[in-house]
């Protein structure tokens, strides 16, 4: 190359681009006049200086990593966009083509560089880049919200919505892990997603202080482990245990009630700009609305199956459970029992003390009966002052024990009801025994229990009778 240089010195010195030759270690050995004119350096200042030291810090980093690796591996690098710093400190965008010079002996001896001034192109390109980036960011937000709403619509329960929310947030914010906490009506919280993180997150939450958990627009942000350690050793250790450098937590609300929160864990320190905070909230709002809707639906389902006054199973649910227990009995060959409970003395209370007191009696009896049955049994209100108890896997003795316990608990005085208005129960028991009444259905069993209850009632109140 040096021979060529001396052969046409004018073309080398005054070429319409900067030309340089460096040693393999990047130190400049030759530079042409065009480059000196563009940059304002003297030849003496450049010879022996590393080319990368002429670049701004960002370009120098790119040069040392990507550019040099490519040059060494491929033997050339093309159209590399860099920013050069002129002698007066001003920035000059350039494009560089370079070639590795390999001697006949295979020794990598030098690098040839051609430098082009890309100031005009750079301005244009930068505008394009900025526009492109803005478009990409807004497009990404819209896409995240659209995909989230698609997943939410497909979800049929709170749990599925929480899983969809976790997936959307992980994707949207490049979080390595997420958790979704939901509060139930009693105010208890459940980690629907991220159970494995629960212990550490809950402890971190109790340690959280304003010094390291910044509240931004109603959202909690921990930006780095350093923040956590600054507030205390334990907080920092918990972050390390979670392998989290940063954490965000946003409340999930349907607009009125806080239904829960979602948390994102990040593997490196993070700052969150307004757009990202807003996207957290937008996702939380979407999820909040669908969770509230799912809760409403499950409440409606519950109302359709339960008695409003007592909260016990209603006829619909009793019918379902009775059919189920009969089917189980048929399959397993185990007996089952149905108890028909009718209150004695209730009509007098209702007529003489009023409906409100009557309702109180029904509620009290309902609570007592719920506490008096076995785990596998179900008690429901059949109508008026009549209740049914379905006892799955129960023989005569077991059914009698349950019936006696119910009679005993109902018989106890009720607060606010004078002793002159005693409440007791007449109970009829119908057994479904294997081999007997094989074709019996639920209604027939209820009729048999009802008939037995009448026998009990007729023989004086507060009695128990088995159906024939």
């Amino acid at each position: 190359m040096t021979d060529e240089l001396t052969a046409s010195p004018d073309l080398f010195e005054n070429a319409p681009c900067g030309l340089l030759l460096t040693a393999a270690d990047d130190s400049v050995t030759h530079v042409n006049q065009t480059f000196l004119d563009w940059t304002g350096y003297s030849r003496g200042a450049l010879i022996g200086r590393d080319f990368h030291t002429l670049l701004d810090a960002g370009s120098a980093a790119f040069y040392a990593t990507r550019y040099q690796a490519e040059l060494w591996v491929r033997g050339e690098a093309r159209e590399v966009a860099l920013t050069l710093v002129r002698a007066d400190g001003s920035a000059m965008p350039i494009l560089v083509n370079s070639q590795l010079v390999v001697s006949d002996a295979g020794e990598r001896s030098a690098v040839r560089l051609a430098v082009f001034d890309s100031t005009a192109r750079q301005d244009y390109e930068r505008e394009m880049l900025i526009a492109k980036r803005q478009a990409e960011v807004s497009e990404a937000s819209v896409r995240v919200l659209q995909e989230a709403s698609t997943h939410f619509l497909a979800a049929s329960s709170e749990e599925e919505i929480a899983v969809a929310l976790a997936r959307s947030t992980k994707d949207a914010f490049a979080a390595f892990d997420t958790a979704v906490v939901l509060f139930d009506e009693a105010g208890d919280h459940t980690f629907v997603v991220g159970e494995h993180l629960a212990e550490a997150l809950v402890e971190l939450d109790t340690l959280r202080t304003d010094t390291f958990a910044v509240r931004v627009d109603g959202m909690t942000v921990i930006s780095s482990q350093n923040e956590a350690y600054a507030s205390g050793q334990r907080a920092g250790d918990l972050m390390r245990l979670l392998r989290a450098e940063a954490i965000t937590a946003a409340p999930i609300s349907d607009g009125e009630t806080t239904l829960g929160a979602f948390l994102c864990l990040f593997g490196r320190p993070r700052e969150f700009d307004h757009r990202s905070i807003e996207l957290h909230h937008a996702l939380a709002r979407q999820a909040g609305v669908v969770i509230a809707r799912a809760r409403l639906q499950s409440m409606i389902r519950r109302l359709a199956m339960h008695d409003q006054l007592t909260g016990l199973a209603n006829r619909n649910l009793l019918g379902e459970r009775l059919s189920h227990s009969l089917a189980v009995s048929k399959r397993t060959g185990e007996p089952m029992a149905l108890l028909f409970v009718d209150l004695d003395g209730f009509k007098r209370v209702n007529d003489e003390l009023g409906h409100r007191v009557g309702d109180l009696v029904l509620q009290t009896v309902a609570d007592r009966m719920t506490g008096g049955i076995r785990e596998v049994d179900i008690v429901g209100r059949f109508g008026g002052d009549e209740f049914l108890v379905v006892c799955e896997s129960s023989d005569r003795e077991a059914a009698l024990v349950v019936a006696e316990r119910l009679a005993a608990t109902i018989r106890l005085p009720i607060e606010g009801i004078p002793d002159s208005f005693p409440i007791t129960a007449s109970i009829g028991i119908a057994m479904q025994l294997p081999g007997e009444h094989d074709t019996i259905d639920g209604d027939a069993l209820v009729r048999r229990a009802d008939a037995a209850m009448y026998v009990a009632k007729r023989s004086g109140s507060d009695r128990i009778s088995f159906a024939a």
Binding site: A61, V73, A81, Y124, K170, A174, A175, F176
Partner: protein, 272 residues
């Protein structure tokens, strides 16, 4: 008959793993840094193939890796890459591993070795830095502005007009791979992923992990490295208990490409 490789663990294709050298030798694993694929080790690997089982691979998003395996959450920090390294070691059924990491991969190796120290015999860190951005008394060598400049530089080189138009300008637009197909793959970087890889690399902070290293460690430091300056190398030396520290005469951030003989010599004398 074509061989069926369906029983090959997914991680091996995901990370484009190549295994060469002595199948019975102690495993030595080479991990590339930011800016290139496993091609960054091409001049060093042959030095070890006679005696060692040599494993090289591409991080997801680099070289010939499976980009469909890219997960923005997982690879947002070095932990995701460290998990991959451990998975490769498990799937290849390796033990007593000598791990050689260049640049950011040295910190991935530290994270992996801290999680499962029993799998590693030695760590060799070439140009390591636990944190690139200055922080109080700690001098990482970069200001936040400089890192922003690097990300900007990445954008203009990968995402801007030049990367789209370059094949057209440079001729052969119908066959841009002409004459480069072999080498290109070695150093390929997926443009869409490069930006996030740069963030995971340059915006992380792994200083706390250094003190927890229990595997014998060699630090190879270039005498003049803008990415990992000598002060950072000394910080790593002072923070990893009992580590060995060598300042090489080679210059620049990629001595494995610019001075492979020297790098190989120091690795050899540390592991033999």
């Amino acid at each position: 008959m074509p061989t069926l490789s369906s029983d090959e663990p997914r991680s091996l294709t995901r990370n484009n793993v190549t295994v060469t050298g002595n199948p019975l030798g102690q495993p030595i694993m080479f991990a590339h840094g930011f800016g290139c694929g496993q091609g960054a080790w091409r001049y060093v690997l042959p030095e070890f193939e006679k005696d060692f089982k040599v494993i090289a691979f591409d991080h997801v998003g680099s070289g010939g890796s499976d980009v469909t395996a890219y997960d923005r959450g997982k690879y947002d920090s070095l932990n995701g890459y460290a998990d991959d390294i451990l998975e490769l070691i498990t799937d290849l059924e390796l033990s007593d591993v000598i791990y050689v990491g260049h640049s950011v991969s040295s910190m991935m190796g530290v994270l992996a070795a801290n999680r499962s120290p029993e799998l590693f015999a030695k760590l060799i860190l070439v140009g390591p830095s636990p944190r690139y951005v200055d922080d109080g008394n700690y001098k990482g060598g970069f200001t936040q502005d400089a890192i922003d400049g690097l990300l900007e530089s990445l954008d203009s080189n990968y995402l801007g007009w030049s990367s789209v138009m370059a094949p057209v300008i440079m001729g052969n637009p119908e066959r841009p791979e002409l004459g480069q197909e072999l080498t290109d793959n070695f150093c390929a970087v997926n443009p869409a992923i490069a930006g996030q890889f740069a963030r995971a690399t340059f915006l992380g902070d792994n200083r706390r992990d250094l003190a927890e290293v229990s595997v014998p460690t060699l630090i190879l430091q270039s005498s003049d490295d803008v990415i990992a300056p000598v002060e950072v190398g000394e910080y790593v030396r002072d923070t990893i208990p009992g580590s060995k520290y060598v300042v090489m005469s080679s210059r620049g951030h990629v001595p494995n490409l610019s001075d492979p003989e020297q790098v190989a010599t120091h690795i050899r004398s540390f592991i033999e």
